[in-house]
């Protein structure tokens, strides 16, 4: 296999945006600093559902047209909210195989143009058909997991809120974040109840935004060390555990093996905190902490910007915002900036970073490890 490197990344500010999805993707593309944006062998686009969110199909060709990249092979990849990292994964394999030398990865979603009830309904289609027929939503499934985790490990409601508090604090230092404002535990508990025990501030937002990256076989200062991908049962009813997810554990195992790394080698992490409980479950499943001990690391400051293992220095999905298809590539953008020392006020000390992106309700997950070279 050929080695695969990242030459540059770019993203838009996340939040409610007026522009079209293709315009946002072009903004992310032009925000990449390098001048040589020609000669792409292919374009890989991660976007979960432009068909329903913005009413466009055949989106891969639309992008070629919009960007003026006539004749370039282009494909859109839908892997639920892991579409961004799935597009990155396929781009990675296209270069690793030796077939392509330089490819463009784009990822984005525009969700805010629809009323919340309709966006919620679209997102609920990620759920098993019977489960969603009961009215279950993504926050409802997360609430079921949260309740059981609190029961098993004694996590308090106040401590659960600390995940949102920490990520909002990090978000104040990220100019791309949707929310650049600190919040308190009290703010979380006073926010609207969505699915008991989860309040609004426990949930990632509906947002618009896009990201871009260029992958190349030519050596740069950032290497893609390994990618792991795994699935779990669609239905929550079939899961063997409600507080730990095999799609993360197996994706992580595969990524660590391919990158020749262990959890101890990782300096900085971006995890898929679509709900506060996942700020604890994900790092435990990635092998950083024992089950139930994620909160201890957070309270001790271990996962803060000055800790041994900073988690979500970008603010995570919670503060950066969660335009579903964009999120996986936004995590990769953040880790590249952290490894390059380009993360501004939220800079941590890191040579090796890990991204963890979830598709569906924790059932189609991708772990990507990047390192400085």
């Amino acid at each position: 296999m050929s080695k695969v490197y990242i030459s540059d990344v770019g993203m838009t500010k996340f939040g409610k945006r007026k522009e079209s999805l293709q315009t946002l993707m072009y903004e992310a593309y032009t925000n990449m600093m390098i001048s040589d944006k020609s000669d792409f062998d292919a374009i890989f686009i991660g976007s979960m559902n432009p068909d329903e969110f913005v009413g466009d199909s055949n989106f891969a060709t639309l992008i070629v047209d919009h960007f003026g990249l006539y004749q370039t092979p282009s494909v859109r990849i839908d892997n639920a909210p892991a579409s961004g990292s799935a597009a990155f994964e396929q781009a990675y394999f296209s270069i690793a195989s030796g077939q392509y030398k330089k490819v463009l990865v784009l990822a984005g979603e525009k969700m805010s143009g629809l009323p919340t009830s309709i966006a919620t309904k679209i997102l609920s289609k990620l759920i098993d058909p019977y489960e969603r027929s009961t009215g279950a939503t993504m926050p409802a499934l997360a609430a079921l997991v949260t309740r059981r985790y609190m029961h098993n490990y004694g996590l308090s409601r106040d401590n659960l809120a600390l995940a949102a508090v920490k990520n909002h604090r990090n978000g104040t230092l990220n100019p791309y974040a949707q929310f650049q404002k600190e919040i308190t535990v009290d703010d979380v508990l006073k926010s609207k109840m969505i699915a008991d025990p989860l309040h609004l501030y426990d949930c990632a937002s509906i947002a618009d935004g896009a990201c871009a990256a260029i992958l190349t076989s030519k050596e740069t200062d950032i290497r893609v060390s390994g990618i792991g991908h795994a699935t779990d049962y669609l239905s929550l009813q079939y899961r063997v555990s409600l507080t730990s997810f095999n799609a993360t554990k197996l994706a992580a195992k595969r990524a660590y093996e391919r990158a020749h790394k262990t959890p101890k080698d990782i300096d900085v992490v971006e995890v898929h905190d679509a709900f506060t409980i996942l700020e604890f479950v994900n790092p435990e499943d990635l092998g950083f902490f024992k089950p139930g001990e994620g909160i201890i690391a957070l309270v001790k400051g271990k996962t803060g910007l000055n800790g041994d293992l900073p988690i979500n220095p970008s603010g995570g999905l919670k503060a950066r915002g969660h335009p579903v298809g964009a999120t996986g590539l936004a995590q990769i953008c953040e880790i590249v900036w952290q490894l390059r020392g380009e993360a501004g006020k939220r800079q941590v000390s890191a040579d090796i970073g890990l991204c963890h992106n979830i598709g569906g309700f924790v059932n189609n997950n991708i772990v990507t490890i990047l390192e400085s070279c």
Binding site: T120, T137, L144, H151, K192, D196, Q237, Y238
Partner: protein, 98 residues
């Protein structure tokens, strides 16, 4: 109530041809409708077409399968609470024991 059962030992709700755990053929079997709540939520923000609030409970049936049910009575909610499951209008409902 009826669930699908596999030689691998797993049971899942509804009729399924293929076992999600091992890929082998499943058979339809009758089991009792006693159930215990594993976890629950009350959902206040519901998808278009539903009325809030909705109580959802994930229960373990007496013979092993887990099932997501609607629970009409808030007083029946609680991890470990026991009750019975009934099927109506394509949905399962949980009713707590008195």
């Amino acid at each position: 109530m009826q669930v699908s059962s596999c030689k691998c030992g797993k049971k899942v709700p509804f009729k399924r041809e293929i076992c999600p755990y091992c890929g082998k053929t499943m058979t339809f079997v009758e089991i009792g409708n006693n159930a215990e709540i594993l976890t629950y939520t009350t959902l206040f923000t519901v998808p278009e077409g539903f009325d809030a609030p909705i109580n959802l409970v994930l229960v373990e049936l007496e013979n092993g399968a887990n099932l997501l049910c609607v629970c009409k009575n808030e007083k029946d909610l609680g991890i470990g609470k026991k009750g019975k499951v009934t099927y109506k209008d394509n949905k399962y409902y949980f009713l707590g024991n008195k």
